[in-house]
């Protein structure tokens, strides 16, 4: 190849002469940078590989300058952001790997396969680290249920998550559902996965050892998913092109993935691999360049060795295909026979496709792709230039024009309804229609499952990790309506809510992962939202001692030119001590006093009530005192831990429910429904206090209110008694009076009746 550097004039002449980069989604200046890096005109294969590796999805080119502001370290963090998953030390030789990702764009084009392959992809990120996946969660965001297309998407997405997760043998133990018109043309499917591993099995995705072999494991490579990261995930939607994008969606095979998981974990247990990397977005282009770049070496790939699903595929198609259920293992040549034997036992195809090579005289590791063992060279580029040297954009930021006027708008405080009871009934929504379609109990780890408490509580155990009495708490949370009003404070409130949810099952929050779903980054308002949101997250995480150990950024969530509300989803993981009994759940007992611990608030800004009942989305969100919130989380975690870990349960807490969207009203209704016991409340004076969404508080049902309040005072947390659990009606004096049976009926039937299904029993 010709290595004489091109002059700037030659580069710009080439850009106009043959604009091959346009259909690949590359900008003129990006094409120019590629020619500068190579000093020549790239081959078709090289250009295709840069286009996927430098896509927004793979390179985080718009968000990276902001992500650096997040706190990422703590003594228990073993692996932070940048690897396939974050890993924390859970003690006793056990590590926890966690990650969250989005599969938004594919799920809109093809809901079942889009959601299913979202699950498949996140699982591979976890077992790539050497961890056995033991739990999934799926935060979903869709348009309203009265829209037929949104119902179709909900049905397909839920079937896809269940169809893949159930079959692959990993339980889906939690999630959340948000319905809002902003997701009508761009639903969000976020998927979180957590895995466990013995600390010593931790592996990183890097190619080391010159002469080592790269073995491609799993499915054959097909034409599915070509350009998924660039054509699909890095552009918005408009009606004309949506149908044409369907071939960019991959098709999942959970049975292949199940065998791949078992084969990979067996290879890792037997120390047969030196590095391993999943194939996700950008397929082999990504896996080969990233492993070589991380190992600081080169790699030589024989593109003809790659097993294909169909004849006639071009090298470009083979290298950029996003066919699912594939892994790249780097092994020593002496291990090859044993690797092939393990794979054969699990009926997993394994083929040597490349070898690790040394760096050139200037220390650069090259990714070389040849057509045949000694065939023509189709690609020869510095591996790092693909993996790490995508352009970084410091895109313009602009505060939206209506931001400040929205904050000072007090319309929301003037809203009234004729019946707050009817409002409450209309706001109830039981997500069990979703989670009952997911296996949420596999591995018999589930102590508190979906719908039972504010967080899911799992034993810290799994195949290969014996139960030790301790447990893991998980909560995934997002509140785009808060973030639309004030992305910085809204994101801080979201983090705070998630931490309190984890504390409410007796756990200490240990780590957070995020999935930042935003609109089009070329809109300065969107970049401002992203930047503000990251600052809010950083503030809250610092105050609550929560390291961010991983994340995902999904941009271009827009349709018909309208960006979605900023939707930072967070998932917080916490750990408990040894449990002797089940923690108190989201319920109460007859005669319990109802205490609200934490702050009090009256503002209705950002509330679900204002939005769903009156369509008002403005005003200043409830503020938060993060130091007080940290004290509240610690107090709640301690109170609950005493209930389930002390030799004799103090029985000071019978039940509890954190207050978030829907305010105290929804919290009381959900507790009443779960207990099938009503309440009489005289400490909530009006609809402001009932529906306000300050997150720094929790309802606790206790038989001994004075003792509980004394504990709160000693911990520096305010608290008041608001009423008593009793009878068969939910009664908030002067505001709400409704039968618990009626609440129950409205709660359970909402999704199934919207879908025209009769409730089976």
């Amino acid at each position: 190849m010709d290595h004489d550097a091109l002059s700037p004039t030659e580069i710009s002449r080439e850009i106009t002469r043959d604009p091959r980069h346009i259909p690949l989604g590359l900008l003129d200046e990006e094409y120019g940078s590629i020619m500068e890096v190579l000093g020549r005109i790239p081959t078709d294969l090289e250009l295709a590989m840069y286009s996927v590796m430098w896509s927004e999805h793979c390179s985080y080119k718009s968000s990276r300058v902001h992500l650096g502001r997040l706190p990422t370290t703590a003594p228990h963090v073993l692996v932070g952001p940048g690897e396939n998953a974050g890993v924390i030390d859970a003690g006793e030789g056990i590590a926890v790997a966690l990650r969250i990702e989005s599969h938004n764009h594919p799920s809109f084009i093809e809901p079942y396969q889009g959601a299913a392959t979202g699950v498949g992809g996140i699982l591979r990120d976890i077992f790539t680290m050497g961890a056995r996946p033991i739990a999934l969660m799926d935060p979903l965001f869709l348009g309203p249920l009265d829209d037929a297309h949104c119902r179709y998407l909900l049905d397909g997405i839920v079937r896809g998550v269940g169809g893949y997760g159930n079959s692959v043998g990993v339980p889906t133990v939690g999630g959340q559902i948000t319905f809002d018109p902003c997701y009508r043309g761009n639903p969000l499917v976020n998927v979180f996965c957590l895995g466990l591993l013995p600390v010593e099995r931790l592996v990183l995705g890097q190619a080391s050892g010159i002469g080592n072999l790269c073995v491609l494991l799993g499915s054959r490579t097909g034409r599915d998913g070509i350009g998924g990261v660039s054509v699909l995930a890095s552009a918005g939607f408009n009606e004309e092109s949506d149908g044409a994008k369907r071939p960019s969606v991959q098709v999942g095979d959970p049975y292949e993935e199940k065998r791949l998981i078992e084969a990979c974990l067996e290879l890792l247990d037997a120390s047969l691999v030196v590095g391993i990397q999943d194939l996700g977005g950008a397929g082999l282009a990504c896996a080969t360049s990233e492993t070589a770049a991380r190992g600081g070496l080169g790699m030589e790939v024989n593109v003809l060795a790659i097993p294909r699903r169909e004849p006639g595929m071009t090298p470009v198609e083979v290298m950029t295909s996003e066919s699912q259920e594939r892994m790249l293992a780097i092994i020593e040549p002496s291990s090859l026979d044993e690797v092939l034997r393990v794979c054969a036992r699990w009926e997993v195809e394994a083929t040597v496709i490349a070898r690790v090579t040394e760096v050139d005289e200037s220390g650069v590791g090259h990714l070389v792709i040849t057509e045949g063992e000694d065939g023509p060279v189709l690609c020869d580029v510095p591996a790092k230039s693909l993996a790490d040297e995508a352009p970084l954009y410091r895109r313009p930021l602009a505060e939206p024009a209506n931001y400040r006027s929205g904050l000072i708008d007090t319309t929301v405080e003037t809203l009234r309804s004729t019946s707050y009871s009817e409002d409450l009934v209309a706001m109830l929504l039981d997500p069990s229609w979703i989670y009952s379609q997911y296996d949420h109990e596999l591995f018999v780890n589930t102590i508190l499952g979906p719908g039972e408490a504010d967080a899911t509580l799992l034993r810290l155990a799994g195949p290969g990790v014996a139960a030790n009495g301790r447990s893991l708490a998980l909560s995934s949370d997002a509140n785009p309506a808060w973030c639309a009003i004030d992305p910085r404070l809204g994101t801080a409130l979201t983090v705070a809510e998630s931490a309190l949810n984890v504390a409410s099952v007796g756990a200490t929050p240990k780590a957070l992962v995020n999935c930042l779903n935003f609109g089009n980054p070329t809109h300065p308002e969107v970049m401002w939202q992203l930047s503000e949101s990251i600052d809010g997250m950083a503030e809250a995480c610092r105050a609550l001692d929560l390291p961010v150990v991983g994340g995902n950024v999904s941009l271009y969530n827009e349709s018909q030119g309208r960006d979605i509300d900023p939707t930072p989803t967070v998932a917080v993981v916490g750990l408990t001590g040894t449990l002797r009994r089940r923690p108190p759940a989201r319920a109460w007992q007859e005669g319990d006093a109802l205490v609200v611990l934490g702050t009090w608030s009256r503002t209705l800004a950002g509330s679900r009530w204002a939005r769903e009942i009156h369509g008002v989305r403005s005003g200043a969100l409830p503020s938060i005192d993060l130091e007080l919130h940290a004290r509240l989380c610690a107090l709640v975690a301690t109170l609950v831990a005493e209930e389930c870990s002390d030799a004799v349960a103090p029985e000071l807490v019978h039940g509890l429910h954190s207050i978030a969207d829907g305010g105290i009203g929804i919290a009381l209704a959900e507790m009443a429904i779960a207990a099938n016991i009503g309440c009489v409340v005289d400490g909530v004076n009006d609809h402001h206090e009932l529906f306000s969404e300050s997150v720094s508080r929790i309802v606790v049902a206790t038989p001994r209110a004075e003792e509980l309040l004394a504990r709160a005072t000693a911990a520096g947390v305010p608290g008041i008694v608001i009423g008593e659990a009793t009878g068969g009606r939910l009664l908030v004096e002067g505001v709400i009076d409704v039968d618990v049976d009626r609440l129950h009926e409205a709660f359970t039937g909402r999704i199934s009746s919207a879908l025209g299904e009769t409730v089976a029993h």
């Binding site: 269940g162 079959s167 043998g169 078992e262 699990w346 109990e441 299904e757």
Partner: protein, 232 residues
């Protein structure tokens, strides 16, 4: 005496560890036997656990019945050994012809993971020998194809021979006659859709599965397969 139990694992099975844990906690010694084995070894009972054997492709259990280990399981069952199929294991046993009937897609055409209240319909089986007819237990279900079907003549035969082991109190999936589990005529082969091993751990919502699994282990020990008949 310790019951030795073989738990069969096909590619795609996923409840084998859970069954081993639950039976282990009740004192059994469990071995996970991969589907490519041809012998069970000296065991007192066999469990085919839940999951998606061979991906449940073609039809649930349809490919699994051809796995090499299934000849040994069939011989063991025919010799009177205790065999229990849970969920996908039940589907495999019906496909293998060791139990009557078939499992179809749930009536609502949706996968269901939720608790089910069951009534013991017969104590004449390895799973329910320690229960009384009419006892109620709460066990989780977790299936998309748990809708038990058999024709009217088979149903009459099942009733007459006391082969209906468990019935749903509130039928979740459209099963004929609310059937959640059945046995063969001798009661040594049992299949059920609900998961007793998910109602056995220390902090589980229900621990009703223990009495059933304990019953299976005792039955396996006292009704050993006749060795002369194995492989006959």
């Amino acid at each position: 005496m310790t019951a030795r139990i073989a738990i069969i694992s096909f590619p795609g099975s996923n409840c084998e560890y859970d069954v081993a844990e639950a039976l282990g906690a009740l004192g059994a010694e469990c071995t996970i036997v991969f589907h490519d084995a041809t012998e069970l070894g000296g065991v007192d009972g066999v469990v085919i656990p839940g999951g998606f054997a061979h991906g449940d492709y073609l039809r649930c259990g349809a490919i699994a019945r051809f796995s090499p280990i299934m000849s040994a399981v069939t011989d063991f069952a025919n010799a009177g050994g205790a065999v229990l199929g849970i969920c996908n294991g039940f589907q495999v046993l019906t496909e293998a012809g060791l139990l009557p009937g078939a499992l179809q897609r749930n009536a609502g055409l949706r996968f269901l993971c939720e608790p089910a209240v069951l009534e013991v319909a017969s104590s004449n089986s390895n799973l329910t020998a320690k229960c009384a007819r009419g006892d109620r237990v709460v066990l989780p279900i977790n299936h998309g194809e748990g809708n038990y079907y058999c024709d009217a003549a088979t149903l009459a035969e099942l009733e007459e021979n006391d082969q209906v082991v468990l019935r749903y109190l509130h039928n979740p999936n459209g099963s004929v006659s609310n059937i959640a589990g059945v046995s063969n005529r001798r009661g040594n082969v049992v299949g059920l859709m609900p998961h007793p091993e998910r109602a056995a751990a220390a902090l589980a919502t229900s621990t009703d599965g223990r009495v059933l699994l304990d019953s299976f282990l005792s039955w396996a020990l006292t009704n050993a397969a006749s060795p002369t008949m194995i492989g006959a």
